[in-house]
Amino acid sequence: MSVDNNTVKKIARLARIHVDEDRRDALAGELNAILSWIEELETVDTDNVEPLASVTGHSLPIRDDVVSDGNKQEQVIANAPETTSGFFVVPKVVE
């Protein structure tokens, strides 16, 4: 798999990251370098090896179903550029 100029443009848009047009070729080169390292990893024989999710040996911590948080509207909206009566206010995004 190889990343070209257009793919860079697309994934930048999907990630909402602005990339100037004259930076795209350079980024494509960097991404292709990363992908080729991964391709190199793929040459390792992993047949009969279980996928590893964590090196700590911990299992997923599980919570009890109790209400222990919330009721902090002021903190939640404190950093919002615009608010009204407890709501976040954003440019209209209606379908």
């Binding site: 848009r13 999907l14 299992s59 599980i62 919570r63 209400v67 206010v89 954003v90 209209k92 995004v93």
Partner: protein, 483 residues
């Protein structure tokens, strides 16, 4: 019954699959300790995790996992002892993380089955593809300001079960039956309250059409339908639209559509070319979710009797028709009411009184069963009075109406209104003699061979008694007298 739809160029087969989002019944959210209660002020039930503040980490709610497994077992589905949470990436104002934590490749529940019954008595097994746990998004209000949207994150992070059917549904009626049955099972299990108005149960409907036997057509997806009626209307509208487009030489595009409740039509969402590029990957904040078979077995042992099982029992043991049993088991409360009212009595008569008189009266009064002025015990008592011959079925209807009106017991209404059935031979004989004396011409005709007139005599005698004469006795005695 054929489900094919007639078009200009022949018949079309409709293929429907549904994705239902069911809010898990729990006190707190899937990955945070804030409340799931409906109706709080804006952004009150929001923690810094739900608002996706930097550095916050999700910790899973064990009760939501249990509910998902319970639902899976209720759908006779395979439970996956290991499942994985993935990030589904997209940007929207009410999704503060920039991704939804969902399960993509390894859902907690695999294939299952749900059986639907239709009004024509047929039943169909609808395949369940999978059930996975995921977070709900927040809520956007678009109608509060001309150029702004208001965002409330109270729902953000609430646990949802997405239940995906196989494309096994063939008509709007089947889709309606499917969602009703699913809602019924969820309510019996107590894993989702099924309240569609509050958004606890919402459906996305995938529809395509094809010539019978042809490969699947291109499907469209209509999102976020929150009533059975809208689901059925959407399907009808979409089927009609697709057939028209294809028959006019056009093409169906795989797209997301919206149902407009004011026009009853669907329309394409403004096209978002990247909308389906979710770039799923395993959430690095969450280890795989593992449960033991013992844990699953423990939940299985606690499952309540489900509507299909109760229905079968009502048909086999109580002798009810499959249809009546279906009506009585759709809601758990209804089934419990019926079991209480009919215990130790004629099950069929009670079923009949419930589905005809009680439901009729409730419907007319705009009440639900929980608000019924007639208790299960009171209805049972009324049925006892009929079967013991204290009142006739005809009078019982009046008594029932009075019970529904006043909440009084049947026995006291009968007592105070003097409605007891007349089973006294002398009294009935007097009535019959009077009817015969007043209709001598008809008596002659009857004796001359006009048998049909018998019903007339019964009717007249009953009428004269104010409906209180024992109909069986009237019948027998009339036969003797008219010989």
């Amino acid at each position: 019954m054929s489900n094919l739809v007639q078009g200009q160029t022949g018949e079309w087969e409709v293929v429907i699959g549904m994705e239902v989002h069911a809010q898990v019944t729990s006190h707190s959210k899937l990955f945070s300790g804030s409340s799931t209660a409906f109706g709080a002020g804006p952004n009150q039930n929001v923690s810094l995790v739900d608002a996706a503040m930097p550095g916050m980490l999700p910790v899973i709610n064990g009760a939501c996992v249990r509910q998902a497994i319970k639902t899976g077992l209720g759908l006779k589905a395979e439970i996956n002892l290991t499942s994985v949470f993935d990030r589904k990436n997209y940007f929207y104002a009410d999704l503060p993380q920039g991704y939804q934590i969902s399960q993509f490749k390894h859902p907690i529940v695999g294939e299952g089955v749900l059986t639907i019954e239709l009004s024509d008595g047929s039943s169909h097994a609808i395949g369940i593809e999978r059930l996975h746990l995921e977070q709900d998004a927040g809520k956007s209000l678009h109608d509060q300001h001309p150029s702004k949207s208001y965002i409330d994150l109270n729902r953000s992070g609430v646990a949802l079960m997405e239940i995906v059917s196989k494309p096994d549904l063939r008509s709007a009626e089947q889709a309606g039956a499917y969602i009703k049955k699913l809602r019924s099972i969820l309510r019996y299990l107590g894993t989702c309250d099924g309240n569609m108005e509050e958004g606890s149960l919402r459906a996305d409907v995938n529809v395509s059409v094809r010539k019978p036997g042809a490969p699947l057509g291109t499907r469209t997806e209509t999102k976020n339908l929150n009533s059975v009626r809208f689901i059925m209307q959407t399907i009808d509208a979409e089927v009609e639209r697709q057939i028209e487009v294809i028959e006019d030489g056009g093409e169906i595009f795989q797209e997301t559509r919206l149902f407009d409740t004011s026009t009853g039509m669907t329309r394409a969402m403004r096209s978002k070319e990247d909308a389906h590029d979710y770039r799923y990957f395993p959430d690095p904040d969450l280890l795989p979710l593992s449960v033991t078979q013992d844990y699953v077995d423990e939940i299985a042992a606690e499952l309540p009797e489900l509507p299909d099982d109760i229905r079968m029992r009502m048909v086999d043991e109580y002798g009810l028709s499959s249809y009546d049993a279906g009506v009585l088991t759709e809601e758990r409360e209804t089934a419990l009411f019926y079991e209480t009212a009919s215990a130790g009595r004629d099950r069929k008569i009670v079923a009949n009184w419930m589905s005809v008189e009680l439901f009729g009266a409730l419907n007319k009064a705009g009440k639900i069963l929980a608000e019924s002025p007639v208790s299960p015990a009171a209805l049972g008592e009324l049925v006892d009075l009929i079967t013991q011959g204290t009142i006739s079925g005809r009078i019982a209807k009046d008594v029932f109406a009075e019970m529904f009106e006043t909440g009084e017991a049947a026995a006291s209404i009968i007592e105070s209104k003097g409605l007891k059935q007349v089973s006294d031979t002398g009294a009935i004989e007097a009535l019959i003699d009077k009817v015969i004396a007043e209709n001598q011409d008809k008596v002659d005709e009857y004796r001359g061979g006009k048998d049909k007139l018998f019903g007339f005599f019964v009717g007249q005698t009953m009428k004269l008694s104010g409906g209180q004469a024992n109909p069986g006795m009237v019948n027998q005695m009339l036969k003797d007298k008219l010989k």
